[in-house]
């Protein structure tokens, strides 16, 4: 390890000369391209790649120790993807059939993704297992996605192939499963590539790890191109001198759209670190930025927190983050303190807090909805807490000493998009009034794949997407104040309350409609999942056993700890129709446990 760090400390001009001894030299793609930068404006993903392939930039993959492992220039990607597309064509699938790919951070994933598009197929990324002891639940998750997408082909590299094999058992649509290596042994069919149509589906994006009802967001080429153009032109104001670094998983919208596809449509180079390697050693990401002079790197607030927590003074001396001009923050609610702590910690390493670039988006809108103005840093408003709770109105703090909540300015919608705030009856609210955030525009999904019921819940008349988030507008900028109670965000991961409740209801001791899950967030912004169960057991050991089992199941499925509270029957509040109200259950829990300082959440509506 120490020798690696010494190498990483080498003067920047020499950093690229480093090579692991005994291995053939590989050189990362340059920052400076030989090709004139064209910022999006392509009609499809493959036409964007055809252009990028004329240059010298591309993707670079680093290992946990910071060594360059493989390079995939856009030029090579185009070649490899076209060759693989011919092999995919050998399966004789119809245009638009789905191809599932377990997406670890590897060149193979990107090649397969583009190969699908060249072959007119629809790829989608499936997650890698991340939780201790999650084998069985992970396999269920994969199977759920394979079934919901009616995938015809599925691929995983050797590390994950056994999981895929198990998941494929019990599906009917799959014609073939294999590794990228096995695909390369398939016969190639000499086909003439058909041009993709902007109205065709480009890919599916699964939004949650739900086991029973996964939802695959359908994104067309047109929506994707529209969103990418907004991101590179308006959000990032991309320059030919830009270079990205990313640890975000390829199976998340921010990782895939934001840090794989957006750099490609702007023809800039990207340096990748696997998510797992970042999580274990977050500083490797900062070292990569420092060493390769990266200018654009996105993270969830949780990622910044990990960096702040794990850095040592000695680490700071080796970093020079002055090159980092766009530190994009999104994917979960942004707390000003997280940003302040990060900036404080890393200012001595040259980090400029004006680089903070808060944004807001979701997979149902391809990725981005709003971006704050680049170069201004994070701005926020202090809002009077009492008025916020009592009147659902955002009033700027007038007097010192009153309690307040601080909300980050997420900026304005990308061109061609509109954001409005509505109340529970769907009526539009004026500025500073808090309500549901709705979005309209060309980046919006066409729906959830093969799921009209969920689609109808999300897409309101007039093609307004109900985001499920709560917020307000001020001077045209969007501020997110919370989520509705049906989604709990812990460490940047969206967890559906329903999924946790279903897990609980699978236990023999728990009857259906007797479990309620929600999140509580403390003053430091740490969210904890609470699972309240109506329980008839009286025996202490049995009660303890149920509690332990539930905590373990939730951990294995979602990788988070939870609080389990067993309450007597009829404790959980129900609506007039007999449905459990999570909102009321949460209020009850807060009262019972004397929790204070909770941000207001809204009732979950019907989503």
């Amino acid at each position: 390890m120490s020798s690696t760090i010494t190498k990483l400390n080498a003067p920047l001009t020499q950093a690229f000369d480093f090579q692991p001894s005994g291995e053939s030299q590989i050189i990362p793609t340059p920052t400076e391209n030989t090709l004139t930068q064209q910022l999006a404006g392509f009609d499809t993903l493959t036409s964007a790649l055809e252009y990028a392939a004329e240059g010298t930039t591309g993707y670079n993959f680093y290992d946990a120790k910071g060594n360059l492992r493989s390079v995939l220039a856009y030029n090579t990607l185009r070649q490899n993807a076209r060759t693989l597309a011919q092999r995919l064509a050998g399966f004789g699938l119809s245009r638009g059939e789905r191809v599932a790919i377990i997406a670890d951070t590897s060149p193979e994933f990107i090649e397969l993704f583009f190969a699908c598009r060249y072959a007119g197929l629809v790829p989608f990324a499936m997650p890698v297992p991340v939780n201790l002891g999650s084998h069985a639940i992970y396999v269920q998750q994969l199977r759920g996605m394979l079934l919901s997408s009616q995938a015809s082909l599925a691929l995983a590299n050797v590390d994950y192939f056994n999981f895929l094999e198990e998941a494929a058992d019990g599906t009917t649509d799959l014609q073939w499963i294999g590794t990228p290596g096995q695909l390369s042994e398939q016969p190639a069919k000499d086909i003439k590539f058909q041009k993709n149509d902007p109205d065709e589906t480009a890919y599916l994006q699964f939004t949650s790890g739900s086991t029973r009802t996964p939802r695959g967001v359908v994104i067309t080429e047109r929506a994707l191109m529209c969103n990418l153009q907004g991101i590179v032109r308006n959000g990032l104001e991309l320059q030919p001198t830009d270079r990205s670094a990313s640890w975000l998983p390829f199976y998340h919208d921010m990782g895939l759209v934001g840090l794989v596809l957006a750099p490609m449509v702007g023809q800039i180079s990207v340096d990748y670190l696997a998510t797992r390697d970042f999580a274990v050693r977050p500083l490797q990401w900062l070292r990569l930025i420092s060493r390769n002079r990266c200018t654009i790197a996105f993270s969830q607030p949780f990622g910044l927190k990990l960096c702040t927590l794990r850095v040592r003074e000695s680490d700071l001396k080796e970093l020079d983050l002055s090159c980092w001009r766009a530190a994009g923050i999104g994917a979960e609610m942004i707390r000003p303190d997280t940003l302040r702590n990060f900036a404080e910690k890393f200012s001595s390493a040259g980090f400029d807090e004006r680089a903070f670039l808060p944004c807001y988006g979701l997979a149902e809108s391809t990725l981005a909805v709003t971006f704050s103005k680049i170069g201004l840093g994070s701005r926020s408003l202090q809002i009077d807490s009492k008025t916020l709770i009592d009147k659902r109105m955002a009033v700027r703090l007038q007097a010192e000493g009153r309690k307040f909540n601080e909300f980050v300015n997420c900026g304005r919608p990308l061109p061609g998009h509109t954001v409005k705030i509505v109340n529970e009856e769907g009526l539009q609210l004026s500025e500073m009034m808090v309500g549901s955030v709705l979005v309209q525009g060309d980046s919006i999904m066409t729906g959830y794949f093969n799921n009209p019921e969920e689609t109808e819940k999300a897409l309101k008349p007039g093609s307004w997407l109900d985001t499920g988030d709560i917020g307000f507008l001020f001077e045209g900028d969007l501020y997110i104040t919370g989520r509705r109670t049906d989604v709990i965000i812990v460490n940047g991961r969206n967890i559906r309350a329903q999924d946790i409740e279903e897990l609980a209801e699978q236990q023999v001791e728990v009857r259906s409609r007797e479990a309620s899950a929600f999140g509580v967030t403390d003053v430091d912004g740490m969210t904890t999942i609470v699972l309240v169960i109506e329980c008839r057991l009286t025996d202490v050991t049995e009660r303890q056993s149920l509690t332990n089992r539930l905590q373990q199941l939730v951990y294995m499925a979602f990788g988070v700890n939870c609080i389990v509270e067993l309450v007597p029957p009829h404790t959980l509040p129900r609506t007039s129709s007999g449905k459990l109200s999570r909102f009321a259950a949460r209020q009850g829990y807060i009262q019972r446990t004397n929790l204070t300082d909770q941000l207001p959440a809204a009732e979950s509506g019907d989503r």
């Binding site: 890698v128 297992p129 002891g133 084998h135 274990v280 050693r281 990990l306 332990n548 990788g559």
Partner: protein, 84 residues
Amino acid sequence: MTASNYDEIMQLLCDRLSDLTLSEVEITPESNLIGQLSIDSIKLLNLIMEIEDTFDISVPINALADVQTVRDLVDLIYKIKSAS
């Protein structure tokens, strides 16, 4: 540090886990890391980093999906260590 002996790995891990959990729970090879020791994701990441540094190995993410008890984890480390 080259503790590649199985019992040494077990001892080292139990010691480390008792620091991490800060509770009265007695740690045995059968202790469940999640259910009994409440190892959350941050603690787990720290633990993996320490394991990797101590034993000079790389713990693959796919292998953790089959780890539930202290013994499972020791078996895994021992396997990786012996293979390297």
